[in-house]
């Protein structure tokens, strides 16, 4: 029981960078812009954040620098795609590779150096509550922030006027424009905001969960964050479930190494990535027209819950996602 609690708490903590990255990407994609540079901008932000924190000796400077890097990469993507009409996919992919190599080149002097790290900070009083104390209140500030970010993003998207406008940017930009919404300017704003969150996600690795800097420090998590956003149907809660599921799978994978000693360790580490793709395929399979016909043939008491479940699973992408916006 005690061990299980410790494991679960570790999973909640390990998912924090993914939460930051996926929430940033969700905001950006709900506004209609795919930021495919995630993997590279996370790496560059992790490196710059670590370097800034090491030089200045201040963690907040590190996180601010990381957020700035993420925002800057998003700004470049915005300038090329929103203002100059280049493909978001192409620009994002190039930025992903460019930032990865930049992080390797500029970060070489910082590789494997000790540096500052976010201190452990159990919430006084609350960390002693049985079960939920060690689970939720015995982490550090960054992890608490990740717990708060999720409801904040949900509330913003679904309970505020600005969130409604944001969703309109991704669904019906023409309509929003006709109602006086500055589509391009707001898309810039939200993708820069999303980029800043991605930057914090990078620093969450180098300054907290995987302290320090090394070559390709985040091992492809940026790509998986992109897949999780699709897996979560662009809805904050489901995206977060995806993050925690992925973190749990990775923990399980590292655990199963000791259970199945014959298998080389690295083989297990690819399992979560593969499972994510399988799940994406299954979701699409369930929502295909053939599956819909099968569902319709089910006996009535089964049919409704099944159809509801499939409809819940297969959430459409924002209709204008990745499309260039032309002023009417």
């Amino acid at each position: 029981m005690q061990q299980l609690l410790i494991d679960l708490a570790a999973v909640l903590a390990a998912a924090a960078p993914l939460i930051f990255a996926t929430m940033g990407e969700t905001i950006s994609e709900r506004a209609g812009v795919i930021n495919l540079s995630l993997d590279g901008s996370m790496l560059l932000a992790a490196m710059v954040g670590f370097a800034a924190a090491s030089i200045s000796g201040s963690l907040s400077v590190g996180f601010a620098a990381a957020a700035l890097v993420g925002a800057l990469v998003a700004l470049i993507l915005g300038a090329l795609s929103l203002s100059l009409g280049q493909s978001q996919t192409a620009v994002g992919f190039v930025l992903a590779l460019l930032c990865t190599d930049l992080s390797s080149f500029l970060g070489a002097p910082y590789a494997r150096k000790p540096g500052p790290a976010v201190p452990h900070a159990p919430v006084p009083g609350m960390s002693d509550i049985p079960v939920i104390g060690p689970l939720l209140f015995s982490h550090d500030l960054l992890i608490y922030a990740s717990f708060l970010l999720l409801p904040a993003v949900w509330w913003f998207l679904y309970r505020t006027r600005a969130g409604l406008v944001l969703r309109a940017l991704g669904e019906r930009p023409q309509t929003a424009y006709a109602r006086g919404v500055p589509v391009i300017r707001l898309r810039y704003l939200y993708m820069i905001l999303g980029g800043a969150l991605v930057g914090i996600a990078g620093a969450a690795y180098s300054l907290d969960l995987k302290q320090g800097w090394s070559y390709r420090h985040t091992f492809g998590t940026g790509w998986i964050a992109l897949a999780i956003v699709i897996f979560g149907g662009w809805q904050p809660w489901r995206v977060a479930i995806g993050c925690y599921l992925f973190a749990a799978l990775q923990a399980l994978a590292s655990r199963s190494q000791s259970v199945l000693p014959g298998m080389p360790t690295q083989v297990f580490q690819v399992a979560p990535f593969v499972l994510m793709i399988v799940v994406l395929a299954l979701i699409n399979l369930l929502s295909s027209p053939t599956a819909a016909r099968r569902l319709a043939a089910l006996p009535k008491p089964l049919r409704h819950p099944a159809e509801r479940f499939v409809a819940w699973l297969a959430t459409p992408a924002p209709a204008a996602l990745g499309q260039p916006f032309q002023r009417p």
């Binding site: 280049q86 493909s87 996919t89 192409a90 590779l97 492809g220 399979l285 295909s288 459409p316 990745g322």
Partner: protein, 355 residues
């Protein structure tokens, strides 16, 4: 509306009619100038003298015969991958799974090499190349199945399969195909030198590799620009719905372009095994597939420009290897220059299309 929409956002909107008329020389100059400026700033900021660095990057690959052969042996698989990606890019696909296709090509090429080492070498090489092509094509068909059948975006299907492919090769290297004695993640037991692809005397260059790559380039150039199949492929890339209404089997063309790309990447993987590493190593693709994606983004799937750009990229990569020894800087600066080139090319295209 279903989640099928998730496939639409990433349609590359290349080759709009207006930008087709852009002066390529101007765009190229702007891209080169911008990329050099950016890379110089990066170099200066880490205290590396830019001129010395550029001397290495541009000329380092020609400094010794060994370097030249390294450059040729990098350019050959890069060219093969770029050829394959020209097809998928023409069909409007971002085949990020090319790394995995190359790995599976290398794994498949190992099978005849391990099972039938006694065959006459030329036959064995042909078998290895064929097996590599088949392995790569099969791996790419998985992407095609996920994309066409299950509507999983090819970028994520490809990435997931890349991770799986590297898992497979790691498993083989550490497990069933491990070195006799001790398992080492550095690679399998080296192949007997009798079945290495022959090299020029004392150099690492195997002339067969560039020849295969050039033949592939010629074939792809003919296929894309001179055949009905290529025309249909480009039609699918521009607008799959419209192409479907014209009677073009769009899903089939997508799958064919992926399979062809996978086969070429698989051949590149097989060449890595029989001509470069002479064993299976976990990182046998060594980022060549992703570099090829940059090449193809830069030349916009125009086969005529694939050769010079792929060769130039190979020169940069091999040239910068000496960076750490002579300038104490990381060799990833080549990647910075390559990425910046493509980024500034996109920028220049954006500006010239606006005018």
């Amino acid at each position: 509306m279903t989640s099928s929409d998730q496939a639409t956002p990433v349609r590359p909107d290349h080759r709009s009619p207006r930008s087709a008329r852009r002066p390529p020389l101007l765009v190229g100059t702007l891209a080169l100038g911008g990329a050099l400026l950016f890379t110089s700033l990066v170099l200066i900021s880490s205290g590396v003298p830019p001129l010395a660095a550029y001397k290495l990057i541009f000329l380092g690959a020609f400094s010794t015969p060994t370097r030249i052969s390294d450059m040729v042996m990098l350019a050959s698989p890069l060219l093969l991958c770029s050829c394959g990606l020209t097809l998928t890019f023409a069909a409007g696909l971002y085949n990020l799974g090319i790394e995995g296709q190359m790995i599976l090509g290398a794994v498949a090429a190992m099978i005849p090499l391990r099972l039938l080492p006694g065959l006459p070498p030329p036959l064995l090489w042909a078998l290895a190349l064929a097996a590599g092509a088949a392995g790569g094509a099969l791996w790419a068909l998985l992407v095609a199945g996920l994309r066409v059948g299950l509507r999983v975006n090819e970028i994520f299907a490809g990435l997931g399969l890349n991770f799986l492919a590297s898992g497979v090769s790691l498993y083989l290297v550490l497990g069933p195909w491990r070195r006799i004695g001790q398992a080492s993640s550095s690679g399998t037991e080296p192949l007997p030198s009798a079945i290495w692809l022959p090299t020029l005397n004392n150099l690492r260059v195997a002339p067969a590799a560039p020849v295969i790559a050039l033949v592939a380039l010629a074939l792809i150039w003919v296929a894309v620009t001179r055949t009905r199949w290529g025309l249909e492929l480009r039609a699918v890339g521009l607008n799959p719905q419209a192409a479907g209404r014209m009677g073009i089997p769009a899903a089939r063309r997508l799958a064919e372009s992926l399979a062809a790309c996978g086969a070429l990447a698989g051949i590149a993987g097989a060449i890595q095994v029989i001509a470069v590493f002479h064993q299976l190593i976990p990182s046998i693709s060594s980022g060549i597939g992703l570099l090829a994606l940059l090449v193809v983004l830069l030349v916009r799937a125009n086969p005529a420009w694939v050769l010079p750009i792929a060769a130039a990229f190979a020169v940069f990569t091999v040239g910068s290897v000496q960076m750490s020894v002579s300038l104490g800087a990381d060799s990833s600066i080549a990647g910075v220059l390559q990425g910046a080139l493509v980024l500034f090319a996109l920028l220049a295209r954006g500006f010239s299309a606006r005018r």
